[in-house]
């Protein structure tokens, strides 16, 4: 079947089998390998993308669900348009050492941006509850939580400018 959607701001049309997962479509057909497949059982969250602005696990989403929708992947995350800067959440992860091996990071970032967008005044408890679906095997989460708090604050500051 043919599906059309907006992918990181660009209109995209692809032919897919209905039994295609969005994570597969992104990585294997569209060559966007920033979306990682960790567990492939919807536990780990490495594959989180935004579907119409909401965080979803792309390993547990069928490609037909994209038809007519807007999809944002880690490749589409960016700082101020035209600035060639990283997104404030990405900057915060770099600044606060929110990653070690980096495998879970794309999903952490996408979940973190969704959390901060939904609730600008995030508490640490909100962050820990909100990251329940994202597993990191390196950091012990402490620096990730610190990064998300800092990234959320930076996103608020950027909004105010």
């Amino acid at each position: 079947m043919q599906i059309s959607f907006t992918l990181n701001g660009r209109p995209t049309t692809v032919d897919v089998e209905p039994a295609t997962l969005v994570a597969e479509l992104l990585r294997e057909q569209l060559n966007l390998t920033g979306t990682h497949i960790g567990c492939d059982t919807s536990q780990c969250g490495a594959c989180v993308v935004h579907l119409d602005g909401l965080p979803v696990k792309s390993c547990t989403l069928l490609a037909p669900a994209l038809d007519g929708a807007t999809l944002l992947t880690i490749e589409g995350l960016q700082g101020a348009p035209g600035s060639n800067q990283m997104h404030p959440m990405q900057e915060a992860f770099r600044e606060h050492h929110g990653l070690q091996c980096g495998f879970c990071t794309p999903g952490m970032l996408m979940t973190a941006v969704a959390l901060a967008t939904e609730k600008p005044d995030l508490t640490e408890a909100d962050v820990r509850h909100g990251l329940e679906g994202n597993i990191c095997r390196c950091t012990g989460y402490q620096n990730i939580v610190v990064s998300v708090m800092a990234g959320a604050a930076a996103m608020n500051a950027a909004k105010g400018e």
Partner: protein
């Protein structure tokens, strides 16, 4: 996944027709259970009938003494609904505890209730509040709907369109999560109405069930202390890698007390 045909009907009658006419077809709502099942090849339907184009199944309606939630309403919408937060805060709390944010973006109340997973959260809320399941054919009381392990009163081709919840005086939910899946090892929903209290338990057995001794004790005195001494029988409770039946029985009392606490706070 094995290949399947994909249908996106734009009306309930069309969806029902597809379900009946295509042998071995399945409904897909949010897909949070079905897609993992397909990936593990535990199911390989010939066709999926996707309800996502049916906008009439999404959203919440304030009926004065009831709240009606469309079957395709995602958990995140119920959790964030001011209406539910104000009128049935226990139900909003339950929705906010399901899975994780990504699951709550996609997973739907109708899908959860139709699937009737023995450890899912919503069945406890639906049975605990004595809700009514509205389908493409009829209305079914929660007490007659959940029949056991993944079994419901739904007939072939029958589609849940909405769930109607009566507004309780107080209600609360507490669950002990299985840490990896965040399903309920045991979850208890408690609701107090003018004519009595309902207590529904998920996760502990092969299906959601009520606890009459706790209901009568709480109807007399709606306080955690009223049920502290009530132990439930381990017969028929689940024993598995996560917990033995006696531990689950213990957790039912603990979670019920916490649910009453939550309802009172």
């Amino acid at each position: 996944m094995k290949p399947f045909a994909y249908h996106q009907p734009d009306g309930i009658p069309d969806a029902a027709k597809l379900l009946i006419s295509i042998e071995d077809s399945k409904l897909v709502a949010g897909g949070m259970t079905l897609i993992p099942t397909l990936k593990q090849r535990l199911a390989s339907p010939a066709a999926l009938v996707d309800l996502s184009k049916l906008g009439s199944l999404k959203g919440l309606a304030d009926g004065g003494t009831t709240i009606t939630i469309g079957a395709m309403t995602p958990h995140a919408v119920v959790a964030a609904s001011k209406l539910v937060q104000t009128k049935i805060p226990g139900l909003a709390a339950l929705a906010s505890m399901i899975g994780d944010p990504a699951v709550r973006s996609r997973g739907t109340i109708g899908g959860s209730v139709a699937n009737n997973d023995p450890a899912a959260d919503y069945p406890a809320g639906v049975l605990g509040l004595g809700a009514t399941i509205i389908t493409s054919k009829r209305e079914i009381a929660a007490d007659k709907f959940f029949l056991g392990l993944f079994e419901t009163a739904l007939e072939p081709g029958e589609i849940i369109t909405a769930i109607r919840f009566p507004m309780p005086l107080k209600a609360g939910y507490a669950k002990f999560k299985a840490p990896a899946s965040r399903y309920a090892l045991v979850g208890v929903f408690v609701a107090k109405f003018a004519d009595g209290v309902r207590v529904a338990v998920t996760g502990a057995g092969p299906g959601v069930f009520r606890v009459p001794p706790m209901e009568s004790a709480l109807s007399e005195n709606f306080d955690p202390s009223a049920i502290a001494a009530i132990k439930i029988n381990t017969d028929g409770l689940t024993s598995d890698i996560h917990a033995e039946a006696d531990y689950r029985a213990h957790l039912v009392t603990v979670m019920a007390k916490r649910a009453v606490d939550a309802a009172l706070s």
